[in-house]
């Protein structure tokens, strides 16, 4: 029965690829995004079913693997809190990398075990009959898959704060990283030249191990605030690994889907870097934020002026326009729902409320948008820095909730600041600026924030959720 279907498997793969492309396209618009995700999911289902049509497939172990994976994936995706979304996406991504690594190992083992003539015979017609090519595809998939896997795990540990979110640096780190990379590339070259050497299996193991090490050593020096870049980049790697696996078994849907993901990850990485006015190399290698820069004398002087919730309420009650700037602190405090409540009360009081979202606020691209969407903040109230900055001087109150570096005027004023040149939200230009913060500690980038000492800034110390709840309580009492 499956015999007659063999010639059509490739056509099913083409259909699956089209579903992926259309699905991604639909993800471009809020109104079609959810359906787009379903379309892409159907594409995946088609690809899986088509693969199961190959002659001679045995299903018992496949079913075991599918059930385990599907159960874990389903439970994890429903259990995860929206605030924990960055680490969850990172973790899922890591499993994609692990899968590619395992596929390359399995294919290498077969290739090594049965000899390449027989191995190519199992791939069917169109096999490259080039050992160097297959060796390269296998080795490259193993390397990128391993980097994706261990890198994503480290990102997960950092984001979930199981290990410190600060950069972890040691002396000679970049030299060590460089040497490991040289070993990995040397091993890949050797495997391509002498795939049938007696040490080939050892060489392949070296590639896998160096890949795992590179993933760890390349992510640990990157600070929490730079995680949006890392997550995007690892996402891209997992796509590249999948595409490379496609070149091992000569499968077009793997190549197309992998390339799409690889490209989308690179684009997001670029957008994130641009939002921080830094190059990718700077993000990856600078160990940004490992030291707290001492601000120049005169740049940061004066005293931070605290304000009580009572006084903050009186100012807000009189305000005609308010801009809320959320950051990672809002996610940590789980304050998004009570923030929305405050926004509604302000609006009811006749105030114009906007939420200004910086592209790198939070720990992954679009993190704040997801949280505010969860809290039911109307989409029209979300604005981006270029829309809100020109009118900032007319804003009565800017409320900064758990954001720091993205509102740091040093990025505009202080050429010696590490974040100089980064586009920020100019909350310091608002008539009054409230900063909700737990303490005076600097942000994840470790940069002093002169905003806290400006004349028009008032610090509302305490847990963001507790502070906003207090304000909401005041409004309710007054109303």
């Amino acid at each position: 029965m499956t015999e007659i279907l063999q010639p059509f498997i490739n056509y099913f793969y083409i259909v699956a690829s089209v579903f992926f492309i259309v699905g991604l396209k639909m993800l471009n618009h809020a109104s079609t995004a959810r359906r787009g995700n379903v379309v892409s999911g159907i594409g995946m289902l088609i690809a899986v079913i088509a693969t199961c049509l190959y002659t001679g497939m045995e299903f018992h172990w496949i079913i075991v693997g599918c059930l385990i994976g599907a159960a874990i994936g389903a439970v994890a995706s429903y259990a995860v809190k929206m605030t924990a979304m960055p680490e969850m996406v990172g973790l899922f991504n890591g499993f994609g990398g692990l899968a590619s690594l395992m596929v390359s190992w399995a294919e290498f083992h077969k290739w090594h075990d049965m000899g390449w003539t027989e191995y190519y015979a199992t791939l069917g017609t169109g096999a490259p009959d080039s050992t160097a090519f297959t060796a390269f595809a296998i080795a490259f998939t193993a390397l990128v898959g391993a980097v994706t896997f261990s890198g994503s795990l480290v990102a997960y540990l950092k984001l979930s704060e199981r290990i410190t979110g600060k950069p972890i640096l040691f002396a000679g780190q970049q030299i060590v990283n460089g040497l490991i990379l040289v070993v990995a590339l040397g091993a890949i070259t050797y495997l391509c030249i002498a795939p049938e050497a007696s040490v080939a299996y050892t060489v392949f193991t070296v590639i896998m191990v160096t890949g795992l090490i590179i993933g760890v050593t390349s992510v640990i020096p990157i600070g929490g605030a730079d995680m949006p870049v890392v997550i995007s980049l690892l996402n891209s790697y997992s796509g590249i690994a999948a595409a490379a696996a496609g070149f091992i078994i000569l499968n077009n849907v793997l190549i197309v889907a992998g390339a799409l993901v690889g490209a989308s990850g690179i684009i997001l990485t670029k957008i994130m870097c641009k939002a921080m006015n830094r190059s990718l190399a700077n993000v990856l290698f600078s160990g940004f934020g490992s030291t707290t820069t001492t601000a120049k004398a005169g740049a940061v002087q004066g005293e931070a002026k605290p304000i009580s919730a009572d006084d903050a309420f009186y100012i807000l009650e009189a305000a005609r326009s308010v801009v809320v700037v959320p950051g990672y602190g809002m996610a940590v405090a789980q304050a998004q729902h009570v923030v929305r409540e405050l926004g509604e009360l302000l609006a009811k009081n006749g105030c114009d409320v906007k939420y200004a979202i910086h592209p790198v606020a939070g720990r992954m691209p679009g993190h704040m948008n997801v949280l505010l969407a969860e809290a039911n903040v109307p989409y029209e109230q979300l604005v981006e820095p270029p829309d809100v900055n020109p009118v900032m001087a007319t804003v009565d109150v800017a409320i900064v909730i758990g954001a720091n570096d993205v509102v740091n005027p040093a990025a505009r004023e202080d050429e010696t600041s590490p974040i100089y040149g980064m586009p920020i939200i100019n909350v310091d230009e608002a008539k009054t600026c409230f900063v909700l913060k737990r303490s005076m500690a600097s942000g994840f980038a470790g940069v002093e924030n002169p905003l806290f000492f400006k004349d028009n800034t008032r610090m509302l110390f305490g847990d963001a959720k507790a502070s906003v709840t207090a304000l909401v309580g005041q409004f309710k009492d007054a109303g």
Partner: protein, 96 residues
């Protein structure tokens, strides 16, 4: 065959760049987790490794790990994306 696959690969990269570069920042997270789910396509390779009786025990073990890991990526990725987009959609229905 190889030349054709490279051709497809390069075209797909350019297509991916075109598809993604205009996405609004509001949708960055769902886009990332949605494309992350697509990277689970490596399940196709995992199925082949597991289901084809060519390799012996080690290949089967590696294959099952690969299938399970890819399945976590696929199922988790699509469901979590759907959960996020459901929140976006709720308000958009009224406003657009």
């Amino acid at each position: 065959m190889l030349g054709l696959l490279f051709f497809v690969f390069v075209l797909a990269i350019f297509l991916g760049v075109e598809l993604i570069s205009k996405v609004p920042s509001q949708l960055h997270t769902p886009l990332m987790s949605g494309s992350n789910a697509i990277s689970g396509i490596t399940i196709v390779g995992a199925l082949v490794a597991t289901g084809q009786p060519h390799g012996g025990t080690l290949v089967t073990v590696l294959g099952v790990i690969a299938v399970a890991a890819a399945m976590i990526n696929v199922v988790g990725g699509y469901l979590v994306t759907d959960r996020m987009l459901a929140m976006f959609k709720r308000k958009d229905g009224g406003s657009k």
